[in-house]
């Protein structure tokens, strides 16, 4: 269909929106994403029965966290569309992109903050983990 949609949307492909976890969405924001949306199948049409419904709950969970940590829950969203709805996909990309443009860049970008961290294991030192 050669539909165009904003180039600032980076697509992460997953086998099912049910694979999306809370921590994936948070990491995207931690790494500087201005907004994140999950595009799952239409409700009731999940090949794995409830994958998209699980994604919906996780998006809501992250929304609540983002509201409390100064980012704003409106920067994350859940959309449902089928694989046959190409025009709707492009429309959602434009819609979300426009919404995020209105909100402006993530507060992380202009704050100058540089919070960081590593994952340690009991047997290794912080230097080894880094």
């Amino acid at each position: 269909m050669r539909l165009s949609y904003p180039t600032n949307v980076k697509i992460v492909k997953l086998p099912c929106s049910g694979r999306v976890d809370v921590v994936h969405l948070l990491k995207a924001f931690e790494d500087g994403a201005d907004g994140v949306y999950v595009a799952g199948c239409l409700e009731g049409d999940c090949h794995y029965q409830v994958g998209n419904l699980r994604a919906k709950k996780r998006v809501a969970y992250v929304k609540d966290i983002l509201d409390k940590i100064g980012i704003g829950g409106e920067r994350v969203a859940m959309y449902n569309l089928s694989a046959g709805q190409g025009p709707r996909f492009a429309e959602i990309a434009r819609e979300m992109s426009e919404k995020i443009k209105q909100l402006g860049p993530t507060p992380l970008r202009k704050s100058g903050g540089s919070a960081k961290g590593v994952k340690l294991t009991p047997g290794t030192t912080k230097e080894e983990a880094a």
Binding site: V23, L26, I69, G70, G113, A115
Partner: protein
């Protein structure tokens, strides 16, 4: 297992906002199973904290770790070579783990990241229910394997009370009447005659009424 639930992130932020080097320490025991304080929850809380500090323009370190158990000293000791690099620890273990860390690392502020709720089991994914209140004198042998202390809202020993209606508790219709469950179970077991012998008042000395408790198993001591 011990059932806990994550504290709201804003409450955690309130505890930690003045620190610059934070370690989020999970526990691979009970709180991992009830999805409140295992490595996965450590990742979520640590990431949320880093986002918060970044947007606040702060250069804070928030590292992540999870110990096999925080209620056992050989495992809490695994933080000994790391803890000096931090000025606060957020423990996602139950209240026992938080206190063990506080006892082992006396000069380090340790904050709780979960609310410890009760001893219970997994009813279904994402749903945990209470089964034991640790009264210290188990009477399950006489009650068909259903605990009136944990399952009856009034902890009655000779129930049900007048508030039991259609098998539900008057406290809340979502709560099954513990004594109704006991009756049905004893009927199934052909042991309804147990109701003919009243249970004596319980000695609560073995419960919290006797103050903080300890268990000694002499044969296990070194």
């Amino acid at each position: 297992m011990i059932i806990a639930e994550p504290k709201p992130i804003d409450e955690i932020i309130d505890s930690l906002k003045d620190f610059n080097r934070i370690l989020v320490a999970g526990c691979d025991g009970c709180v991992t199973v009830c999805e409140a304080g295992g490595m996965k929850e450590v990742e979520v809380v640590a990431s949320a904290l880093r986002i918060y500090f970044k947007q606040a323009g702060r250069a804070v370190t928030v590292d992540e770790i999870s110990l096999t158990r925080q209620c056992d000293r050989p495992y809490t000791a695994q933080l000994a070579d790391k803890i000096d690099q931090y000025d606060a620890v957020l423990s996602l273990a139950c209240g026992v783990g938080v206190q063990f860390l506080a006892e082992d690392y006396k000069n380090k502020p340790i904050f709780p990241g979960v609310n410890t709720c009760f001893m219970g089991g997994t009813e279904e994914k994402g749903l945990w229910t209470e089964r034991c209140q640790g009264c210290g004198k188990c009477i399950l042998a006489n009650t068909g394997g259903i605990c009136p202390i944990a399952r009856c809202s009034k902890r009655m020993l000779n129930g049900p009370c007048g508030g039991s209606s259609d098998g539900r508790c008057e406290v809340n219709k979502d709560i099954a009447c513990g004594w109704h469950l006991i009756y049905e179970r004893l009927k199934e077991l052909g042991q309804l005659d147990r109701f003919e012998t009243p249970t004596d008042p319980k000695d609560w000395n073995t419960s919290r009424d006797g103050g903080p408790r300890k268990v000694i198993k002499e044969v296990s001591r070194l």
